[in-house]
């Protein structure tokens, strides 16, 4: 059964660390942060997407690849999580 709770910034930064090697404290991720500002290229974002899909048992919509900001990405993940639940 997929987990239906919203993704927290803590969960997000743990996945950033394990799949992309980006180490940042949850409270330092700014409201309008982008993946590029976190030093992540497209392959790194791809790794984070598939890590969420694996750990949450979801499949994110194709336009997730277009998201540039962390908040847009998390909204899309949380929306997908809600629908799956």
């Amino acid at each position: 059964m997929p987990e239906t709770a919203s993704v927290t910034l803590t969960e997000f930064t743990e996945i950033l660390s394990s799949s992309a090697g980006v180490r940042i404290a949850p409270d330092l991720v700014g409201e309008d942060a982008t993946f590029a500002e976190l030093g992540m290229d497209s392959l790194a974002v791809l790794g984070v997407i598939s890590a969420f899909e694996r750990t949450r048992g979801i499949i994110l919509p194709p336009d997730v690849h277009e998201t540039e900001s962390v908040s847009d990405f998390l909204s899309l993940v949380n929306e997908t999580v809600r629908k799956a639940g």
Binding site: S18, A20, G21, L43, L46, S50, E53, R54
Partner: protein, 451 residues
């Protein structure tokens, strides 16, 4: 339509003719400038070896004849016929390499980045600055990122395609180390990667020397390897040349009557090569000069360990490479002061190497000190020869030929350095390497005259 096509063809023909003529002109001009103007010196060194991470700890261990061949610890090898290897255990990339790079690369590339960092620092390349088109990178790779690739393929077959990470696409790949060194330091000069198995360490250095002769003033070159994982080990075992010895001390005994093959190893070296005038201009000391290189190839099925005639036939190409490398360096056999041999530790292959030395160097071959420092580390595919060249540079600097660790049952027909390092004035050192499949290369490293 028909006439247009015909017209197009005619134009193409003319263009091709013109191109051929101009490339000949370029080739002959290049031939002159290669030999006349350009001299390639070593201005930096970086080493990661089982016997020491970092140039100074590696060199101290090498002079002392230390050995770091041990039971394989990277995975449970108890049920494999090959149980010993040289592993790089002292290096810790976590505190020196960007964690974003660590997750997307294999241990082999971690080692390359560590060696490149040390080499670049020792040659003061920071002063040239990031983004320079004057610095290129040329590494050799034989095994690639086997351990990373195996982990991802295991995930694919046990858990499915969604469990394969995106970095599989770049981490296993032979060009990964060249690319990551270039990206990490912003070196944007000519870059290349070379695969000629264990001969690659010498060939990559030669390719860098050629890039320098063509106008790229600085090159990082060499190679590291990390083929100690189940997939990498099984791939190497197919050659039949790996030792199945039951104890570490007898697992790799180059030139010994009781040799039983060789052991795989991790590690390697990165050198900074530089055009002599460029090094002088920025006041960087030259440690040694790369003066000669040649490579040759023995076609056909590679001989198995017990095939004496097959190995004997490979002596020709190695002898040719030695002769051509000496000619490139402009020296004769009597001027070779030491040989860092390939020393495969396979009796027939060792005999072929001795035969090649005798054929190429004549009676001098009996008086020249021969050494195989990698008897202390194992053979790290292309990294092994890069490590030998680093050792040769340090030998020239110190006037010391390091010993062949653990040598027993010595051959009567070469002067193998054993026990302690031998003090001797050195001007020209010959490095030899053979790669599985038929590769044979020779490189001459010399002290820097008039520099």
């Amino acid at each position: 339509m028909t006439s247009k096509a015909a017209g197009g063809k005619a134009v193409t023909g003319k263009a091709a003719g013109g191109k051929a003529a101009s490339s000949r002109a370029v080739a002959s001009a290049r031939g002159t400038s290669d030999t006349a103007a350009s001299r390639t010196v070593v201005t930096g060194l970086g080493v990661v070896a089982p016997t020491g991470a970092g140039v100074s700890s590696y060199w101290q261990a090498t002079l002392a004849g230390q050995r770091a061949i041990d039971r394989i610890s990277r995975f449970d090898a108890s049920r494999y016929p090959v149980r010993f290897a040289g592993e790089v255990r002292a290096a810790d990339p976590a505190d020196q390499i960007d964690p974003r790079v660590l997750v997307q690369t294999d241990w082999w590339t971690h080692l390359a980045l560590l060696a490149a960092k040390e080499a670049a620092a020792s040659a003061a390349l920071d002063a040239i600055g990031r983004g320079s088109f004057d610095i290129g990178v040329t590494t050799a790779a034989g095994a690639g990122g086997c351990a990373f690739g195996q982990r991802e393929i295991e995930a694919l077959w046990s858990r499915g395609p969604r469990h394969v990470g995106p970095y599989q696409s770049i981490a296993w790949f032979y060009a990964a180390s060249t690319g990551q060194i270039s990206i990490a330091s912003g070196f944007r000069g000519p870059c290349a990667v070379l695969s000629s198995e264990s001969a690659g360490g010498l060939d990559a250095i030669a390719l860098s020397r050629r890039a320098i002769s063509r106008g790229s003033p600085v090159q990082l070159c060499g190679g590291t390897e990390a083929p100690v994982s189940p997939y990498a080990l099984v791939s190497q075992m197919q050659s039949g040349l790996l030792s199945r010895a039951a104890d570490a001390d007898s697992a790799y005994l180059p030139f010994s009557a009781s040799a039983s093959g060789y052991v795989p190893a991790e590690g390697g070296a990165v050198l900074v090569l530089e055009e002599l005038a460029h090094a002088r201009e920025r006041g960087t000391p030259a440690l040694a000069e790369i003066t000669g290189h040649a490579s040759a190839f023995t076609p056909g099925q590679p001989p198995h360990a017990e095939d004496a005639d097959g190995w004997a036939r490979t002596a020709d190409s190695l002898a040719f490479a030695i002769g051509a490398a000496l000619a490139d360096a402009g020296i004769g056999p009597s001027e070779v002061d030491a040989v860092f041999a390939d020393g495969m530790g396979v009796r027939n292959a060792d005999r072929a190497e001795v035969a090649a030395l005798h054929a190429a160097l004549g009676h001098h071959s009996r008086d020249i000190p021969v050494t195989v420092p990698k008897a202390g580390t194992g053979r790290a595919c292309s990294g092994a020869a890069a490590l030998d060249v680093a050792a040769a540079v340090l030998a020239l600097r110190d006037g010391l030929v390091p010993p062949t660790p653990g040598a027993v049952d010595l051959p009567p027909d070469i002067d193998l350095v054993t026990g302690a390092a031998r003090r001797r004035p050195l001007r020209h050192v010959l490095c030899l390497a053979r790669g599985f499949g038929g590769f044979a290369s020779a490189l001459v490293v010399s002290d820097v005259e008039d520099a």
